[in-house]
């Protein structure tokens, strides 16, 4: 029967699951091969480079915002340590989408941790790898592990320290973070900073050149702006954009607007219109008369919100952009900004819980308006 016809046999199964290099995500394709390729994390890289020569590695905790190269760094490091042949037997990587309850820690992780590392295989590419006598377990997005699971990790980290090193990767390690203190204290911490625009620029241009896509500098700037230091996002956007542009015949050039659309970013004009209605000075000439009746103002705001929702923009995105606008605004005072921040925080939580977009965008708009008009 049509759709669920079982696979005929395995004999004709060409290696189906190997992703065509053309289709391979660029983030995988251009993952740094060595830690020296890692962009903009000079300090961390410098420390890690030493471990390469001494082959002594502590337990590590990588933290920093998404897309700053945490996972790439540890993978690159592992590759450099073990080489491609030994990599499989020496490295275990688990990330958030894998089951990582306490049972997995107790079974899978513990089992892997206590194996004596297999003998080094002579690498085929003729290079010599340090291949130190331990294995590495990478726990990506470790802050999403349950408390219990982390608790179970504590002893494992100590007992098998001789033959196994852990590398935890997470976003935050502040006191409120979900990495429990005993685990955090067993690791040496490495902070990853958001990419500065120069390194991001460099990297993106490099990829563009390698992929043979012509990308004007304005587009790269837009990529960096919309991805806010997250290189992975920037690369993904770039790939989508090039896909779109190359699909037409002849290929259309990529424009900054394309990037905005791909990133789901609300165009500035829309945000500025909304801000104007809310009484925020955005330097546009069509500022609404200050002495307009309050009542009609409510209607105005409501109408504007409805318009935005109809355009299909996501409320979280609108929220984020209005937030940037208000918080960085030159003339609003601290009190107003603080008040607005409260509104934003609440709305963000609500939207995360799946609240109705229109109601909450309106709520944010009204809250901002109230705060902004308070002093004037």
């Amino acid at each position: 029967m049509s759709f669920f016809a079982p696979k005929q046999s395995n004999s004709n199964s060409t290696p189906k699951h190997i992703v065509d290099p053309v289709l391979q995500p660029w983030i995988e394709k251009y993952r740094p091969r060595t830690i020296d390729d890692v962009s903009a994390q000079e300090h961390t890289v410098a420390v890690l480079r030493k471990t390469l020569t001494s082959t002594n590695l502590p337990h590590m905790l990588f933290y920093g915002p998404p897309g700053t190269g945490k996972t790439s760094t540890i993978l690159a490091l592992a590759r450099q340590l073990f080489g491609p042949e030994n990599f499989r037997s020496r490295v275990l990587e688990l990330n958030a989408s894998d089951e990582r309850g306490i049972s997995i820690v107790r079974e899978k992780i513990k089992n892997f941790a206590r194996q004596t590392p297999r003998a080094q295989v002579v690498s085929s590419d003729g290079k010599v790898y340090p291949c130190p006598p331990y294995k590495i377990i990478i726990l990506d997005e470790a802050d999403s592990m349950t408390q219990d699971a982390q608790g179970a990790l504590r002893r494992i980290m100590e007992t098998y320290a001789r033959i196994t090193r852990f590398c935890l990767v997470c976003n935050y390690v502040t006191s409120q973070s979900r990495i429990i203190e005993p685990v955090a204290s067993r690791c040496s911490k490495f902070r990853f900073v958001p990419l500065d625009s120069d390194s991001a620029h460099l990297r993106l241009s490099h990829i563009a050149a390698a992929e043979n896509v012509t990308v004007p500098p304005a587009v790269i700037d837009m990529l960096i702006a919309t991805s806010s230091g997250d290189l992975r996002r920037a690369i993904t956007y770039l790939q989508s954009a090039s896909r779109l542009s190359s699909s037409t015949n002849p290929p259309t050039p990529i424009t900054p607007t394309d990037i905005q659309e791909i990133a789901g970013v609300v165009p500035d004009t829309v945000i500025n219109d909304l801000a104007t209605v809310l009484g925020i000075d955005v330097g546009s000439e069509t500022a609404i008369e200050a002495d307009t009746e309050k009542g009609s103002r409510f209607q105005l705001i409501r109408k504007e919100v409805k318009r935005i929702i109809r355009q299909g923009y996501s409320a979280t995105q609108v929220l984020a952009q209005i937030h940037d606008l208000v918080v960085l605004h030159p003339t609003l005072n601290g009190r107003q900004k603080a008040q607005v921040a409260l509104v934003f925080a609440e709305a963000d939580k609500a939207l995360g819980d799946g609240a109705d977009e229109e109601l909450w965008t309106l709520e944010v708009a009204l809250g901002v308006y109230k705060a902004v008009s308070y002093a004037s």
């Binding site: 290696p15 699951h17 995988e28 275990l92 990330n95 894998d98 089951e99 997995i104 899978k108």
Partner: protein, 759 residues
């Protein structure tokens, strides 16, 4: 404090208004606000003049029994005692407390906000009224033994009777002891409940007439049997071959039955919940024509020979459950043919299970005996056991045990181990300890929580006590509170008038409603995927106690205009689920033609269908049927779906209204027409095709390989395939294995049963 806050409010308001000057309107508004606030402050001040004197007054140490012979009625809210406390005080000093004032009432203790009905009664009887202080004063000054001659004599007489009874008991005991000396050892090792079980009908407390009826019935049995149960007899009892005694536990049902049977010369054969009483056993065991009863009388009872003078006592009939399937029916059949008297005993006559027995048995309901009837018996027992316990203490015990004699005896026998005397407070705490776990219905709980007393300033219930009410039935109580919290007249707005009252009422409701909303959030955490059961106490507070603390007051009762209602939520929710499912069916069928999801179907299509599917039938009658059916076929809708579409309407499109507009003839013609022709079907339901459902395993197999190590996946997949195949095999294998197993089990069970019977 409050006053200050109000002034602040005015000040804030003033300053705020000053900012937006120039509006005449706002100034007027402002003035009005200040007026209102001032009047409100005045009322506040007046109200708080006598400070709520909770626990401020000390109960004087009066002489014991100083209130003896006096009858009290308490009404209204006392300022420093809760009602229950005041009643306790009166009882402790030997006073009698009644609920309604009557001519026999000596004093009425009057508090605030007394009910008008009671006031009228007080006026009518011209009763003495006391306020709280006078009441306390009375206790402090009145001398004990201030009893008139008549009561004195009465008391003396009672004492004498008690002594007499005790003596008699002792005599009998000795006789018994002599008789059973060799077999049973000494009596003191027996439970009190056995030792003081009634030996004669005289000893049975209360229900005299009922016991007589029972005895009479047994007495007349031979003649009734002879006459074929044709002669009704004095009270119609002789028409029946069985009686059904009902009543709450511990009122002496079983005892009376045994006694009566013995007295009338029958040999009682008792079957109770410890015996298996399934249909088969009742049928075969109690051989229907009673020629041989030894079927069930195996083992130690076998020595009892069955004669015409046997009598069956089926105890705990309402306990025939679970394993005793069909037991009641079989019993009923037995009763219809029985040649010996059958006495059935149950707690609740209304129980659904006993329905079949109602017509075949003569009903003898046992009431809870009144306190004074039990009192004398208990007093004699206490006397005999050489315990010194005053009558009012006994009363307290009996009331708290809800007239359960057995319970009282048990309490006393335990107490005897440590002490020979007991005073009022001790009895109170003992009773509290042995408190019958009364299961209050959600209705009662709601009445109590939302009622005027639980949260009144003088109430002594702790937060824990209030939460206990929630935990009595934590799934229903919150629903009841939500359903009924609007029906009270909140006590908190009692002293307000006019707009303030309305505003206060709205504020209180607002508080209650938002707390209910909080409670629901907690509820979803408790019953959500993570099951935070530890939040239950919080839920108790938010869903039940906080709303009630705002809204408590008069008004939530059975009956009357504000009568308490059963939570609508349950019915509405199941209706919603049902319609949701049906809507899902419609959406699935329409999916081939329509892109919308469920809610879009409901929002846009259902109203749009109305003029196409429903209206023509109402307007054009049968002639439109064909067109309607064609339209339905376009969307693969069936007649059932048509019904659902009609049912989904609200307002003007409500199904009742719509269906009324369509003449019944049209409806039937429409149905007939639809059924007579073939219709396209979008798909077959899976269970119609007999597809085996796939089990969702508890936890899926974790994927542990890395994202970019692609080459390994292929292998792993095929492995998983195999696993799946295996699982399927297992499943079917299981099914096959299980089926015969089940049969076997039932076989052995029936075998066992057979064996039992044979024996």
């Amino acid at each position: 404090m409050r006053y200050k806050k109000c002034l602040n409010l005015v000040a804030v308001h003033q300053s705020r208004r000053q900012r937006s000057q120039g509006e005449l309107h706002s100034r007027q508004l402002h003035q009005r606000l200040i007026d209102i606030l001032h009047s409100w402050i005045a009322i506040k001040a007046a109200k708080s003049a006598p400070p709520p004197a909770h626990g401020s007054k000390v109960v004087p140490d009066g002489e014991p029994n100083c209130l003896a012979g006096l009858a009290f009625v308490f009404t209204g809210e006392l300022s420093s005692f809760a009602r229950d406390e005041a009643i306790d005080i009166a009882k402790r000093y030997g006073g009698r407390v009644t609920l309604q004032p009557s001519s026999k009432t000596s004093f009425v203790v009057l508090g605030d906000n007394a009910g008008p009905a009671k006031l009228a009664a007080i006026k009518k009887h011209g009763l003495n009224m006391l306020n709280e202080d006078q009441f306390l004063n009375l206790i402090a000054t009145r001398k004990a033994g201030h009893v008139d001659e008549k009561t004195k004599k009465k008391l003396a007489k009672e004492q004498e009777a008690i002594r007499q009874a005790a003596k008699e008991m002792e005599k009998k005991e000795k006789e018994d002891a002599k008789k059973e000396d060799k077999q049973d050892g000494n009596l003191s090792s027996q439970l009190w409940t056995t030792r003081y079980a009634p030996q004669s009908l005289k000893d049975v407390c209360g229900n005299k007439s009922q016991v007589e009826k029972l005895q009479q019935w047994l007495h007349d049995w031979p003649s009734s049997l002879k006459s074929g149960f044709k002669k009704p007899g004095k009270n119609g009892a002789n028409m029946f071959r069985a009686v059904l005694i009902t009543g709450s536990p511990g009122v002496g049902k079983t005892t009376s039955a045994h006694l009566c049977a013995k007295l009338e010369g029958f040999t009682p054969i008792e079957l109770n919940a410890s015996d298996v009483r399934s249909k088969r056993l009742v049928e075969s065991g109690l051989n229907i024509n009673n020629t041989s009863l030894d079927g069930y009388l195996h083992g130690d009872k076998a020595s009892v020979s069955i004669t015409d003078k046997s009598c069956i006592i089926m105890d705990e009939v309402d306990g025939m459950s679970a394993g005793d399937r069909g037991g009641v029916g079989a019993l009923n059949a037995l009763i219809k043919k029985s040649m010996i008297p059958i006495i059935c005993i149950a707690n609740d006559r209304q129980a659904q299970k006993l329905k079949p027995l109602i017509h075949t048995t003569f009903s003898i309901p046992f009431q809870k005996p009144p306190v004074n009837m039990i009192r004398s018996r208990i007093l004699s027992i206490a006397y005999k056991e050489k315990m010194k316990i005053p009558a009012n203490v006994i009363d307290q015990l009996i009331t708290s045990a809800q007239s359960d004699i057995r319970q009282v005896l048990n309490m006393l026998s335990t107490w005897k181990l440590s002490s020979d005397t007991m005073d009022f407070d001790e009895s109170k705490s003992l009773a509290k300890m042995n408190e019958k776990y009364t299961v209050m219905s959600p209705f009662d709980i709601t009445t109590k929580i939302l009622g005027p007393y639980l949260f009144s300033p003088s109430a002594r219930e702790s937060l824990g006590d209030k939460m206990d009410l929630y935990f009595q039935d934590h799934s229903f109580v919150p629903l009841f509170i939500q359903e009924n919290y609007l029906r009270s007249q909140p006590a908190r707005m009692r002293n307000l008038e006019g707009p303030e009252k309305i505003l206060k009422h709205l504020e209180l409701m607002d508080k209650a409603a938002s707390s209910l909303s909080d409670g629901d959030l907690v509820d979803s955490l408790i019953h959500g995927p993570e099951q935070h059961w530890s939040l239950m106490p919080l839920h108790a507070i938010l869903s039940t106690i906080r709303p009630s603390s705002s809204m408590y007051g008069n008004g939530v009762h059975y009956g009357g205009p504000n009568s308490m209602a059963f939570p609508q939520w349950l019915g509405q929710n199941s209706k919603q689920n049902k319609l949701m499912r049906q809507l899902g069916d419609i959406q699935a069928k329409m999916r081939l033609k329509v892109s919308g999801d469920k809610s879009e179907i409901r929002h846009s299509y259902i109203p749009a269908f109305h003029p196409h599917l429903v209206q023509p039938l109402a307007e054009n009658g049968t002639t439109a049927a064909e067109k309607v059916i064609r339209r339905m076929d376009e969307y693969y809708l069936s007649k059932e779906d048509w019904d659902t579409i009609v049912e989904l309407g609200v307002g003007d499109h409500k199904d009742e209204i719509i269906l009324k507009k369509i003449p019944p003839a049209t409806k039937t013609a429409f149905t007939r027409k639809y059924n007579s022709s073939e219709h396209p079907i979008a798909f077959h339901k899976a269970h119609d095709l007999g597809k085996a459902p796939k089990k969702i395993a508890g936890g899926p197999t974790p994927d542990l390989e890395e994202a970019y190590e692609v080459d390994e996946i292929a292998e792993e997949l095929s492995e998983e395939d195999e696993k799946k195949e295996k699982n399927k095999d297992d499943l079917s294998a299981d099914k096959l294995i299980q089926a015969p197993k089940k049969k076997k089990v039932t076989n052995t069970a029936s075998d066992k049963a057979k064996n039992k019977i044979k024996r």
